[in-house]
């Protein structure tokens, strides 16, 4: 029911047209930026997958590296080593991180909690190579390298991730559960162990998964704590074991192009593992966030 006069009033003038143009341009720039980031991801994943796929076979996962110049051989010792190192690191970081999160989220007074939160955030931002040198100076000098010492270094990297994820899920526990337990006269420790922790269990698990995904890909700390080359497959944490990220790093330096192909294949294995874990963990975290905050 718009008369010609109203239509004339509503017609865009030059200034409005210009503003709309600028708006469209900016939206385009935002879309382009997102596309650029996605294409970087696609380029990397595609390059690793296409170059690494050909070297993947059963031998790759079950055999140890062949001597220089020979074909065949795989990264079985690296896989074993990585599993040992990351498992031990998780065994250290998980309880440690959950304890810290419980203290910060449940027990500490506000001001104390803020200070410790800052410490955790600073710890999270430390370069991993610095953490590697720390463990080197603390444990390796004079005593030699071992997978366990590498686990210590990785656990320091994992600690803030576990603590932060745990804090998040702890905060999502409904207040009624917490207060009801305390109102019934249940002591603090029983409330935490029996009510709060079980409710947050899933979230803690996903936090640990994210931390594992991060630790599995770290190379710099391994350089200083567990980089002596061994070709036998061993599961002993007190020895210096081979690990996947270091294997990739070392294959790169080799002049043998077959080693480069193995580097791509190992990179494909590592990248797939890390990406799958990350995506699954983030999806689970988002789902539990939605469930608990409804």
């Amino acid at each position: 029911m718009s008369s010609p006069a109203v239509s004339a009033l509503l017609a865009p003038d030059a200034r409005l047209r210009r503003r709309k143009l600028v708006n469209h341009m900016m939206e385009g720039i935002g879309t382009l930026a997102a596309l650029a980031a996605i294409s970087a991801l696609v380029l990397v994943v595609y390059a690793v997958a296409s170059r690494g796929y050909s070297a993947l076979d059963r031998n790759f996962f079950t055999k140890v590296p062949a001597t220089f110049g020979e074909s065949g051989g795989g990264i079985a010792n690296s896989i074993a080593g990585s599993i040992v190192i990351v498992l031990c690191a998780t065994a250290i970081a998980l309880p440690f991180g959950v304890l810290v999160a419980i203290y910060l989220g449940e027990l500490a007074p506000k001001r104390v909690s803020r200070v410790f939160s800052l410490v955790l955030d600073v710890l999270n931002g430390l370069p991993s190579i610095v953490i590697g040198i720390f463990i080197f100076a603390l444990f390796v000098v004079g005593h030699g390298q071992s997978a366990l010492k590498a686990s210590f270094a990785l656990s320091i990297i994992m600690l803030p991730l576990v603590a932060r994820a745990t804090q998040e899920v702890l905060a999502l526990v409904p207040k009624e559960l917490r207060e009801g337990s305390l109102a019934l006269g249940v002591s603090r420790w029983r409330s935490v162990l029996g009510v709060i922790l079980p409710t947050s269990f899933g979230g803690i698990l996903t936090g640990a998964t994210l931390a594992v995904a991060r630790a599995a890909g770290e190379t710099a700390p391994l350089l200083f704590t567990c980089s002596v080359t061994v070709t036998q497959t061993s599961w002993n944490p007190h020895e210096a074991l081979q690990s996947i990220p270091l294997t990739i790093f070392e294959f790169l330096e080799s002049p043998d192009p077959a080693d480069h192909a193995r580097a791509w294949a190992a990179a494909l294995v590592l990248m797939t593992f890390v990406l799958v874990l990350s995506v699954l963990a983030k999806a689970a975290l988002a789902r539990s966030r939605r469930k608990l905050s409804r």
Binding site: K20, A40, I102, Y103, L138, F249, V279
Partner: protein, 315 residues
């Protein structure tokens, strides 16, 4: 009936253990940071006592004659990080705006997940890709164009050598920084109160004008902190950078030439370090890196906290 208010021994003991364990764990985390700083300085002592503070502006690095100095790497660290942030800063903000304001709902989830996947890729894999794919691609297709179009700038002079140069390192660093800054910025943009956004739109502003007039000013401090946190990541990245940066000495403005950063030199030279003095010098580099990283990270965290305080009115 037991007197109400008297708690059992088990309860009190359990509580005591709980407070002790968790408080101890928190103290332990703080102890790690302090011990780390101390141990690093301790391990670098041979180099610190030999060179003192002059290490920071000495240009030497000669393992054969046992002369070491940090200036080339301090320059390399700041130079590469500066350019990486130049690229990553605006891009992170643009991506964060896309993810929080501009994209349709169903696109946001997918793109957000993809950006987070980029963050999850291990640095050694990105370095591998940088050496064999990005470096050659830049040398063949991008560097000649940059040299001819922008050669009047000192950054693009000096013929493109091989792919291992500062420019490749800058691109690699940008790729690693963008996901971090973008997700922090996205959280910030999502936290702007809906009434402010809706009010602006209701007054007839276009989407971009609303972003420029409401969202960006509202989140200004936090966005700065997000970018500074990205800087912290760029400064500390060792493995990906050392694979693509060329590992040479020299202070020059040309991005086409090679160079080195603090973290990258430590990673490259540790395993071949010949003398105790060289190892101590490498740890001295790590001390400098730690100092830079602490300043940057603490700075970012304090900005975030003050910004939060301002925004929530002190609650």
């Amino acid at each position: 009936m037991r007197a109400l208010g008297r708690r059992s021994v088990a309860d009190r003991l359990g509580d005591w253990i709980l407070y002790g364990l968790t408080g101890g764990a928190a103290l332990g985390a703080m102890l790690i940071v302090v011990l780390l700083a101390y141990k690093l300085v301790d391990e670098a002592r041979p180099a610190i006592s030999k060179y003192g503070i002059g290490f920071l502006w000495s240009r030497a690095w000669d393992p054969v004659r046992n002369h070491f100095g940090a200036l080339d790497f301090i320059f390399g660290t700041f130079y590469t990080s500066f350019f990486a942030l130049l690229i990553a800063g605006p891009m992170s903000i643009a991506i964060a705006l896309f993810l929080s304001e501009l994209a349709p709902r169903f696109v946001r989830g997918v793109v957000g997940t993809l950006v987070e996947m980029l963050a999850a890729i291990p640095s050694v894999v990105i370095g591998l890709w940088g050496v064999f794919v990005l470096g050659p691609a830049l040398t063949e297709h991008v560097n000649p164009f940059l040299g001819s179009a922008f050669g009047f700038l000192p950054f693009f002079r000096g013929g493109p050598g091989n792919g291992n140069n500062l420019l490749t390192a800058v691109v690699v660093l940008a790729i690693m920084v963008i996901p971090i800054s973008a997700s922090i910025a996205r959280e910030l943009f999502l936290s702007v109160p809906q009434e402010l956004e809706d009010g602006a739109l209701a007054l007839g502003l276009t989407r971009w004008e609303m972003i420029r007039g409401v969202i960006l000013p509202y989140t200004r401090g936090g966005v700065v902190a997000a970018i500074i946190l990205g800087l912290g990541r760029a400064v500390g990245e060792a493995i990906a950078v050392t694979q693509v940066i060329g590992g040479t000495l020299g202070i020059h403005l040309s991005l086409f030439k090679g160079g080195d950063t603090l973290a990258s030199r430590i990673a490259a030279q540790y395993q071949g370090a010949a003398s105790n003095l060289q190892i101590a010098s490498l740890v001295y580099l790590a001390v400098i890196l730690l100092a830079i990283s602490l300043v940057v990270n603490l700075g970012a965290q304090l900005i975030v906290r003050r910004f939060e305080f301002q925004r929530t009115g002190g609650s």
